[in-house]
């Protein structure tokens, strides 16, 4: 029993099965991320005037990450094209770069996450707010390094530079202390949900691409056409993951 059109495209549709399958899967992915983007819009429109935070994220780092993903989009196509031209060695090189980019992206993203989780807002009993990175936390006191907000274009903010000294706050004076996790406000909630879901897609994609780059590439010797198809299908998924980021970057970092 052989299932038809596993490798060769069906004439009237012009597609082999897996290619149609991945397009359908991507359609559902569009709905998944579409729902989250819609939620973002509804939450932002519904927020109290002035309540939606701006400039919490580091734009240069986000830009670098965007470039990393765009580069990986190019290499993933080059890898597939290399197979089409029967150059297995070049495929290995290009796809290796794709994997490297994926790891770099996740690395940079983790750095950004870490930055948020160590960023604290401390409300004192007298009402003042100290906002900055946590240096030390003991039973008696908390040490915060106040920092200018990322992305603030205000010249006055920049000129502060090292003028910020660490602030040592006794625990008794603290009314509330909370880091910039998803629980902090709705913006961070949707930021973490969207980017974490996206990062899971990056990891999933990297896992598949990595498998096809490593042990899975044995198929090149036995069934090169089917292997090339697999690379194409995983590449389509990878492009989708990149595309989601192309929407995420302006929505979360710039707007």
């Amino acid at each position: 029993m052989d299932i038809p059109y596993v490798v060769q495209p069906r004439q009237d549709t012009g597609l082999y099965n897996a290619k149609l399958g991945i397009w359908l899967f991507l359609a559902s992915e569009v709905m998944l991320f579409g729902a989250l983007f819609s939620s973002y819009i509804l939450l932002r429109v519904g927020a109290a005037p002035g309540a939606w935070p701006h400039g919490l994220l580091n734009i240069p780092i986000g830009t670098v990450n965007t470039l990393v993903l765009i580069t990986s989009s190019i290499t993933v196509v080059m890898a597939w094209a290399s197979l089409k031209m029967n150059q297995f060695g070049r495929f290995k090189v290009f796809q290796g770069f794709t994997l490297l980019c994926a790891l770099m992206f996740v690395g940079i993203k983790s750095y950004e996450y870490h930055d948020k989780f160590t960023h604290y807002e401390v409300i004192l009993t007298d009402g003042t707010v100290v906002d900055g990175h946590l240096i030390e936390r003991t039973k008696e006191h908390v040490v915060i390094h106040p920092a200018a907000k990322h992305g603030a274009s205000n010249a006055a903010d920049k000129s502060h530079g090292d003028a910020h000294a660490e602030v040592k706050i006794p625990v008794a004076q603290i009314k509330k202390i909370e880091n910039y996790g998803p629980w902090h406000n709705t913006y961070l909630a949707i930021y973490f949900t969207l980017t974490a879901l996206h990062a899971l897609h990056v990891l999933g994609g990297a896992l598949v691409i990595g498998y096809l780059w490593g042990p899975g590439s044995k198929m090149w010797k036995t069934d090169p056409e089917r292997f090339t198809n697999r690379i194409e299908v995983s590449g389509l998924f990878w492009h989708f993951v990149d595309l989601v980021w192309i929407f995420l970057f302006p929505v979360l970092y710039l707007l």
Partner: protein, 602 residues
């Protein structure tokens, strides 16, 4: 195929490993679409029965509030502890059973049976394919479904019990109820959504790619069309629910406020320790964006089954095949833009209400076209009244009642009165229970001989049918009256708290006669349970003792599923299949027989 797909085959595990697949590969880790279809079928029938059992227990609490449940009361207490202290169903337990009844019936019972079981077994056969396009993904789809089902069952036994906020899980209620029942519910849903996503991709790819030569789109049996549209609905409507579930999970676990507004007072009136800024309406929008298309996921496959059986047993072509197909596509598309008619009472604004009221009225047009075409098909046919046909025939008026009673709910002004009453319960149960489930029963009786090589018993089939029909109506018809009189759903005491007996002269209080109907409805529900016994026995006994079929095509049908050996082997067809004609060539003048199979050359 051997009829035993469940657990009763320990002997064959080790032997014959070289010639045949072992027990595990053949029945548990099978990639054969027919085995997977039967796995889905039996599992979902068990879940249907379990979900039904939950409501039979709840009906006791409704009819006889706060009295110990006879027989199973102390068993419940042993299993669930204080939630059923003294054998009495507590309000918390009532809520949990209610939420899980809805969840199990919809996501673990009817959809897997209608879409996954029948679709898997029948669609590849009807389009002349050897299997599904992605057999291994098909297997994983069933496994994800099974895991999701187990998670839902386990949630009854965790501290605090199962989810209690209804199958709709409206936030903030769902988020603020203490206990982790809701978290486990979400986890289970993620598996079920994954399962249906994999199934949907597979079905669409199979129908587009693997149709036999000559099987053009307008030669597809209507059942395949319904599965095709259903798969698209599942593919596109489920992901937003997954997004919503992820956000609700974040609300539960990471203490975000996606659905929790600023200044929300938690249980006990204390302001909740949440950042706020969320929107309860957002959950409802995302939920019903799935929830309403889901209704069509429930009904469309049943329509497809009914269509096959009507054509076969009237010995006539289906009337208006093309208008059926186009109406179906219309229903599929429109089902995505009617969701907010579930939300008229939320105050989302009159303009939005007007829009959704309009689309809701429009979607009833293609639905009526489909039903009318079925009725006209009966005209002048020489009808064979076998069990599948009886169920299919009963589907028509039952679905008709369900559909027409939906119109007052689709109108904003009348929905304000009827919203959240027993009228709503009666309405959608007419669509799903005597509607869809009758369609599915028809399908089971119809394709049983193809799957097992034996017929189910006609006499007991008819007993099952007539009793089910009578009790279904005795259950749901009085609920229309209760609802119109203002009795609300989801009340653990069956409305006693609002009765005139409790508070004489209360405006809008429930009269004694209304309250007393609770008992008669409950009796009918329990009788409906008893009426399923002939079916259950018939289903299992016929595997071994049913009348053997003498031909591969015992119903003398035209579609390709009957042109295979019985039961169909791995790979389905013994010869290359080519299709020469439409799906319903019955009683064609000048032909020697009153049916002409699709693969018969002209």
């Amino acid at each position: 195929m051997q009829p035993t797909t469940t657990h009763s085959h320990p002997a064959g595990t080790h032997e014959e490993h070289h010639e045949e697949l072992g027990f595990w590969q053949k029945y548990i880790f099978s990639t054969d679409h027919k085995v997977i279809g039967i796995q889905y079928g039996i599992t979902s029938l068990i879940f249907l029965f379990f979900g039904f059992s939950l409501i039979t227990l709840m009906r006791w609490q409704i009819a006889y509030p706060n009295k110990p449940i006879p027989v199973v009361g102390h068993l419940l207490e042993k299993m669930l502890g204080t939630a059923a202290a003294g054998g009495v169903m507590s309000s918390d337990l009532y809520n949990a059973f209610g939420a899980m009844h809805g969840t199990i019936m919809v996501f673990l019972g009817v959809v897997p049976l209608a879409f996954a079981a029948f679709g898997n077994f029948v669609v590849p056969l009807q389009i002349g394919a050897v299997d599904m396009a992605f057999p291994r993904i098909n297997m994983v789809s069933y496994q994800a479904y099974a895991v999701g089902g187990v998670i839902m069952l386990v949630s009854f036994f965790i501290p605090g019990g199962a989810a209690q906020a209804g199958w709709t899980s409206y936030s903030p209620l769902a988020t603020l109820i203490p206990g982790e029942g809701q978290t486990v519910w979400i986890l289970g849903m993620v598996f079920l959504i994954t399962s249906s996503l994999l199934g949907a991709v597979n079905f669409i790819a199979t129908i587009i790619q693997l149709r036999a030569p000559g099987m053009t789109w307008m030669r597809l049996p209507f059942f395949v069309w319904t599965q095709f549209v259903t798969a698209f609905i599942l593919l596109l409507a489920f992901p937003p629910l997954e997004a919503a579930a992820l956000m609700q999970l974040m609300d539960k676990v990471a203490h975000t406020s996606f659905f929790l507004p600023t200044g929300l007072a938690a249980v006990g009136g204390v302001a909740g320790a949440v950042s706020g800024g969320g929107s309860p309406l957002l959950w409802q929008h995302l939920f019903w964006f799935l929830g309403h298309p889901e209704v069509y996921v429930l009904i469309l496959p049943a329509m497809g089954i009914v269509c096959e059986i009507l054509a076969n047993n009237t010995r006539k072509p289906i009337w208006g095949y093309k208008s059926l197909v186009y109406s179906l596509l219309g229903v599929g598309f429109l089902s995505f833009i009617v969701w907010a008619h579930h939300m008229y009472l939320t105050g989302m604004g009159t303009k939005i209400s007007t829009f959704f009221q309009t689309t809701t009225m429009i979607i009833s047009v293609p639905s009526v076209v489909i039903l009318s075409a079925f009725f006209i098909t009966l005209w002048g046919g020489s009808i064979r009244f076998n069990t599948p046909m009886l169920f299919a025939l009963a589907f028509l008026p039952m679905f008709g009642i369900g559909g027409l009673t939906g119109l007052p709910l689709g109108f904003n002004f009348s929905d304000i009165h009827l919203h959240d009453t027993y009228y709503v319960i009666a309405h959608f149960h007419y669509v799903v229970a005597p509607g869809t489930i009758f369609g599915l029963m028809a399908g089971i009786y119809f394709w049983y001989p193809k799957a097992t090589g034996r017929m189910m018993n006609e006499f007991w089939g008819k007993v099952h049918f007539w009793l089910s029909l009578a009790f279904m109506n005795l259950i749901f018809q009085p609920m229309f009256a209760q609802g119109m009189a203002g009795m609300l759903r989801r009340m653990a005491d069956g409305g006693a708290n609002y009765s005139l007996a409790n508070t004489p002269n209360a405006i809008g209080g429930l009269s004694d006669s209304l309250i007393h109907r609770n008992a008669s409805i409950s009796h009918a529900a329990w009788a409906l349970g008893l009426a399923q016994i002939p079916f259950i026995i018939n289903f299992f006994v016929s595997m071994y003792n049913g009348k053997r079929v003498t031909s591969d095509n015992p119903w003398e049908a035209t579609t390709l599923d009957w042109q295979t050996p019985t039961p169909p082997p791995h790979g389905n067809f013994t010869k290359p299949i080519r299709v020469y004609r439409g799906p319903y060539e019955y009683s064609v003048p000048g032909h020697p027989k009153d049916f002409t199979p699709q693969d018969q050359p002209s």
